[in-house]
């Protein structure tokens, strides 16, 4: 079991939850309040929903040996467009559709740069990462746009027993899993990631597949941006989705998807996104001093990555054969 690629991420998640429960015994309690669930775990699911959704899009992009750095900026643009539209008297549904259409266009742009012009993904999406946030600031004129719309509030802060945001993210995750693993599509994506040229020669239309995953990543980022802005009823072009691309990439990597492409795990991405959000929540609940937050997070992430690396599992394998299994215990508590 220890050899399974999700063993250490899941172990980290469990340890974090245990730490939270030790500091706050009622952490795992879930209660029914005003017809919806409320509790520590529910909070993690709701706040983690945007990162999870972006990470799902990112998983497919990374599987094709690409990367999308622009997702945070795209999220900011989505929030900016939706809130500006609503604030100028528009209808919330139109606002969201409009925002998502723009995000699809931005995804098309990224996909065009990568698949048609053959620009390195990290450079191609870097363009939109920097310019996109500027664009969002132009839309909001540099101000924080506050809105008060009952429908718009739902997507990020609403509940259907469970938070609506996590229901959206999980449905997308399941739909993608069914579509790519239930059909040959997933294999085609992986083959493009392994060797685009060979796949093309074998009859796989690499260009269409690569283009599509960037459009999908843009759409995911757009919906996540709506969640982020709806959660606080405001669009903050400066800060919305800031560094979320790093969290998403981290979630994907913790989940065992290789940055070299050709192999991906959606279940891993789910676990990775949960680890990252639980880590953030833990920092707040156990009272890590603000100036130590980044170091604390880094230590946990490094520990998970180290434990997960093939070398370490080899070491564990040989040590287990050589000596008693007890040696494992201190490593786990170090996480």
């Amino acid at each position: 079991m220890i050899r399974h690629h999700l063993f250490w991420p899941v172990a980290a998640l469990v340890v974090l939850l245990v730490v939270n429960t030790v500091f706050n015994p009622s952490f795992l309690e879930i209660e029914l309040q005003d017809g919806h669930l409320y509790g520590g775990v529910i909070g993690i699911l709701r706040n983690g929903a945007p990162t999870l959704l972006i990470a799902v899009g990112m998983t497919l992009v990374i599987a094709t040996r690409g990367i999308d750095l622009s997702v945070g900026a795209v999220a900011a643009i989505a929030g900016a467009i939706a809130c500006t539209w609503i604030a100028s008297g528009g209808d919330a549904l139109t606002a969201m559709l409009l925002a998502l259409c723009v995000c699809v266009l931005l995804g098309l742009w990224n996909g065009f740069l990568v698949s048609v012009l053959g620009i390195q993904p990290i450079i191609a999406t870097l363009v939109l990462m920097t310019a996109g946030r500027g664009g969002a600031m132009l839309i909001t004129e540099g101000q924080i746009i506050t809105v008060d719309d009952p429908l718009y509030r739902q997507i990020g802060a609403g509940f259907l027993v469970l938070p609506i945001a996590i229901l959206i993210s999980l449905s997308v995750l399941l739909a993608v899993a069914a579509l790519t693993r239930g059909t040959a599509l997933g294999m085609l994506v992986e083959s493009v990631g392994t060797n685009p040229r060979a796949s093309r020669l074998a009859g796989v239309s690499s260009r269409t597949i690569v283009w599509t995953v960037y459009v999908f990543a843009g759409l995911c980022a757009g919906v996540a941006g709506l969640m982020i802005s709806s959660n606080v009823n405001a669009a903050d072009a400066n800060n919305a989705g800031l560094w979320i691309e790093m969290d998403a990439i981290l979630a994907v990597v913790i989940g065992g998807t290789s940055l070299a492409g050709g192999r991906y795990s959606l279940a891993g991405t789910l676990v990775g996104a949960l680890v990252i959000q639980t880590l953030t929540t833990t920092v707040y609940s156990i009272g890590v001093p603000p100036d130590a937050i980044l170091v604390f997070k880094a230590v946990v992430v490094i520990a998970v990555c180290l434990l997960q690396s093939p070398r370490t599992s080899e070491l564990f394998g040989s040590r287990r054969r050589a000596g008693p299994a007890r040696t494992r215990t201190p490593e786990v508590s170090a996480v």
Partner: protein, 318 residues
């Protein structure tokens, strides 16, 4: 954002030609010419700050050469050099960062032009480089927030604090001032403090975690309105009444915050006043006339209770 550099360029070009064409900025005609370099237009607070300076200059009959540095020190240094070339009567600016000003300010000093810092200070061993620093006293703002709590608290009070961005001067000073004010009241205790990065989503997420790990929170002290507004959302989601079950104190008094205060969701706001235009023009006239001015001038700031907010809201400019 792309068009702003062009505007700055155009401004520099325009002012350069104005300089070449003759004596339009000379100091002999009695009117004062001020070169002002603003940080940028990153928030509603900053926009109000800019408008106040422009309006006050017009009212005081001061000729204002305004430039926007877009948060970049290099733009600001370039603007200051162009003001030296134009030989303006006084240079004022809000430094983007604290350090790295000595060289350019020495050039200004050699050109014999007085300098006024607004809103933010600089970190330099040589304080003869500027005449005066006009800005808010963040420690005093924290003190006012703490004092209100001391005056209104009864019995045991548990406070949670939402700090600004770690390391930012307002965050450090507002924390310090607040702690100073409540030091003499053993009943008031800060039970948790965490950074919310001055943003709404930061304030909301941290407050959610606080509400879960502490079930005895009486008061939230947020270093700005935005984090306070995020905390309101979190408190409401937890089934509590913001302003009633948990009292909220914030700093800034931007429009959204004042509306929440008037609606009873926030209990007290300490103003951080961006409208320093009039004070700036007054100081400019004094330094140009060669009068002694204090090295540090604090912006006139007030505080708002819920009733005061309701009364003040219609006339607020930002």
């Amino acid at each position: 954002m792309k068009k702003l550099p062009t505007i700055t360029m155009a401004l520099v070009l325009m002012t350069a030609t104005a300089c070449g064409s003759g004596d339009s900025s000379g100091s002999d005609d009695g009117t004062i010419t001020m070169g002002f370099s603003q940080v940028g237009a990153e928030s509603g607070w900053r926009t109000a700050n800019t408008e106040s300076i422009q309006q006050a200059a017009e009212e005081a009959g001061v000729e204002l050469q305004f430039s926007d540095a877009q948060q970049k020190q290099e733009n600001q240094i370039r603007a200051i050099r162009s003001y030296i070339q134009q030989d303006v009567d006084v240079i004022a600016f809000s430094p983007v960062v604290e350090t790295g000003w000595d060289a350019v300010l020495l050039e200004v000093q050699r050109a014999d032009i007085p300098v006024i810092l607004t809103d933010r200070s600089i970190d330099s061993a040589d304080d003869s480089l500027y005449e005066t620093f006009l800005g808010s006293d963040f420690v005093e703002e924290g003190r006012k927030a703490g004092q209100w709590l001391v005056d209104n608290a009864e019995g045991e009070v548990n406070v949670v604090e939402l700090q600004g961005t770690t390391g930012a001067a307002p965050a450090i000073d507002r924390k310090e001032g607040f702690e100073e004010a409540i030091a003499g009241s053993p009943g008031i205790e800060v039970i948790a403090t965490q950074t919310g990065d001055f943003t709404r989503s930061g304030g909301k997420e941290v407050m959610e975690a606080f509400l879960r790990s502490h079930d005895d929170i009486d008061v939230v002290y947020a270093h700005n309105d935005d984090m306070g507004l995020g905390a309101i959302e979190a408190i409401r989601a937890a089934g509590l009444e913001p302003g009633e079950d948990i009292q909220i104190i914030t700093v800034d008094a931007v429009e959204a915050g004042m509306e929440a205060l008037a609606a009873g969701e926030i209990n007290f706001i300490v103003e951080c006043n961006p409208l320093l235009g009039d004070q700036l023009m007054e100081l400019a006239e004094q330094v140009v006339a060669g009068e002694e001015v204090p090295k540090r001038v604090v912006v006139e700031e007030t505080t708002f209770t819920q009733e005061e907010a309701e009364a003040a809201l219609p006339d607020r400019q930002y």
